[in-house]
Amino acid sequence: MDRNMKILVVDDFSTMRRIIKNLLKELGFTNIEEADDGATALPMLKQGHFEFLVTDWNMPGMTGIDLLKAVRADPALAHLPVLMVTAEAKREQIIMAAQAGVNGYVVKPFNGPTLKEKIDKIFERVQG
């Protein structure tokens, strides 16, 4: 796994962006950018050669699930690994995210080791 890969963290709460960013830094990732909803994130993704997307679900403007669908619908972004970190924990929602092509799903509240485990799993599968 390339620790210099460019990662986009999308969450409407700055506190949560900061926490995820710190956890990623602890895991050795340093090239991290932020966006506060899907509508801001999508143009960044289209321009920015990101290699990994971590997104919340429930955000004003464009939600995480719509962002995920938009990413999968764009041929240039379709293969971007996407990890959802969200408080949305209904069975139907997790199924919806899976059907939309999410690579991992972490339910808030979460902890550092869980995040690391999911990220490791995503890149094992992507690279395997």
Partner: protein, 249 residues
Amino acid sequence: MEESEKLTRLTQARGLVAALEANDEAEYLAGLNALAASQTQPMFEEVGRMTREVHEALMTFATDDRLNLLAEDEMPDARDRLRYVITLTEQAANRTLALVEEAFPVADRLMDRAERLQIELAQIQQRHADNTPLVDVITGLTEYLESVQQNGGVLKTGLTDIMMAQEFQDLSGQLLLRVIALLETLEGKMLGLLQKIHPVSAEKPAAPTVAALSQGLGPMVPGAKPHASAAEPIKNQDDVDDLLASLGF
């Protein structure tokens, strides 16, 4: 059935029979209608009574100052307060996160330095293995440096836990945003209803009553209107001190 009503009905029935026997269709239909009306009239009266009651209830509802106040002032005020709670928790969480971010590299540096010193001391110990007093000192220092590394790890775990605990801000904030949205909907519906049945809004009290003041208004919310008209708004401790000073304290 009362005796007089019974007589009326009998007369009507006999009239119907007579009209039928006489082949008087007009008279027969008129009689029939009169009989039917005697049955439906009480129902119409009941519907009328209920309509009046609903109307009166709505008028009372519309002219109840408390409700106007609730929809026009207190609900927007509650929303402002909830938003302010989000801001306060956000500030607190960010302050904590900033301190954690500062402390993390300090722990890292302590651990790195301890590790490097340990290696250097081991080399010195090898070169001066026959110098017992020096070796004793080095052994003591090495133990200490090991504990620095261990405790540094404990410190970092604690810092990570403190950081993760700030997650409450996101979760509580999301819940509050939902309550705010609910209040907005409720407020809109109430205002709509009040406007429909009683377009003129009631007079609002300009300032909180003595009773409300003694109950306590809660922490001050920046930008909140309703109670801002209450004399001079106090902004901070300096204002409080100034006010007290002006009162001779």
